[in-house]
Amino acid sequence: MLSVRGLDAGYGRAQVLFGVDLDVADDSVVCVMGRNGVGKSTLLNTVTGLITPMAGQVVFDGHDITRRPAHARVRAGIGYVPQGHESFAPLTVAENLNVAWEAAGRGPRTLIDDALELFPRLVPLLGRNAGVLSGGQAQQLAIARALVSNPRLLILDEPTEGIQPSIVAEIEEAIATLHDRGIAVLLVEQYLDVALRLAHTVTVLDAGAVVHSAAREELSEERVRALLAI
């Protein structure tokens, strides 16, 4: 479904990623791990079109999307939940979902109902400004907003970071549910236990390059722990 080849990317002249290869097969969950600052978010930002790579290729569903603008990738079927559970703060929760649903411009109206069914905590908050939500609620809104565009690949950057523990479990469960529904998932996750529960493949980045990549069954937990320095 997603295939990244030889990706070099960075900010201005500062290169962050060096020849990254990454594959997400249909129907699979891939987890990218690595210490802070190794380039995980940069990788996701490049895949979703926020950053234009210096070299390399991003192929989605057999189409080279390396040069396509970010909004076109959403329409192509890539949903993105960036790090930091941001929302359109001046818009209400309902408007946040509406604006995303309208922008993707193709899905049935039931997509919004489905997303709210997955995150029922959002229902009583629909009329509130998104700016007043707690971290956990905001993260659920961020995931819901990605879902209403009807993605076939959902990309999440540290969805459990800085979220109250009661909601972390709900978010993990939601990701598992979405995968069961046939959505492929590319996930950046700091917690090894969460990663091991969700992922089919774990890829470890260090200093902007892939240093380890293995299917869950073949994964050497010690090796990963050593690479993550935990």
Partner: protein, 295 residues
């Protein structure tokens, strides 16, 4: 005393024109951060549009003005689109370059106006139905000034509706709040930028049409209003609809009163001093800006 009170409607009319100009700037400057120095010349183009409706097309002044409003909106809106696509788009994040380039574009537009219409002011006849006025509590309210006020109110209501109730308005608020988040939400941010510029510039055209009712129409007409309009946006608080309205009225009244007591250029100095004093006390404008959206 009566003479002073009679300055109030003049001040409000000036304030309403400033508001129309500032509403446009609110889109392009307040929200997109683009300093478009040609905004004043867009007002000038709007004013000449009103002139052209009767001078070239020989329309009856009684309804030419009503046609001039949408025509000026469309014309200056398209000019804004062209400016955004041809110049400004290539200089996002470079405010000084943008300022100088759009200043140059403004000068070019002035020169074109001189070549086409001549350097002297032209006469734009007001419709007969705007000639009279009503007396309220001893204050003379000219129909023309009431019309300008109504036009400004109509534009404010339309903008508020657009931003809060329509799909492109929602997209605009989303882009203005967080461009990257909007892009990965599927919103075509470039197209939204273009729309923002179209609307902002179009409002300058409407302001220009209104100006023909209270002042002379000439190639440098925009010149006299551009600085005041920027001041309104800054004092009102970037991107704040309510603040912009109050700031425009305050500046309009200030202009009208100080012009009454002193001469025009001294009035400008007084206004500037008042505003510098105000910004010293409240650097964030009249209202605290919580977000960059118009609310």
């Amino acid at each position: 005393m009566d003479a002073i009170l009679n300055q109030v409607p003049i001040g409000i009319a000036i304030g309403a024109v400033l508001l129309l100009a500032a509403l446009g700037l609110n889109f392009t400057f307040g929200q997109m951060g683009v300093i478009n120095m040609a905004h004043g010349e867009f007002m000038m183009v709007g004013a000449y549009t009103a002139f052209v409706t009767h001078a070239w097309f020989d329309l009856n002044p009684d309804y030419a003005l009503l046609l001039a409003v949408p025509a000026a909106f469309a014309l200056t809106g398209l000019l804004g689109l062209a400016l955004e696509a041809g110049v400004i788009r290539h200089f996002y994040g470079r405010p000084l370059d943008t300022l100088l380039l759009t200043f140059g574009v403004g000068l070019v537009l002035q020169q074109i106006a001189r070549d086409v219409f001549g350097a002297p002011n032209v006469d734009v006849p007001a419709p007969a139905w705007l000639a009279g006025g009503v007396d309220v509590l001893g204050i003379r309210l000219h129909h023309a000034r009431l019309f300008i006020l109504a036009l400004a109110v109509l534009c404010v209501v339309a903008i508020a509706y657009y931003l809060n109730r329509s799909r492109p308005g929602r997209q605009m608020r989303a882009v203005l709040h967080n461009r990257d988040l909007a892009a990965i939400t599927g919103i075509p941010t470039r197209r939204v930028d273009a729309t923002t510029f179209f609307l902002g510039s179009g409002l300058a055209g409407i302001a220009g049409v209104a100006l023909t009712l209270i002042g002379p129409t000439g190639p440098t007409l925009g010149h006299n209003y551009i600085v005041d309009a920027f001041l309104v946006v800054v004092v009102g608080g970037l991107g704040q609809l309510r603040g912009t309205i109050l700031a425009a009225l305050a500046l309009g009244l200030l202009n009208a009163f100080s012009e009454f007591w002193t001469d025009a250029s001294l009035a400008k100095v007084i206004v500037f001093v008042a505003i510098i004093g105000f910004l010293q006390a409240r650097p964030q404008g009249m209202f605290t800006v919580r977000s960059r959206a118009l609310t």
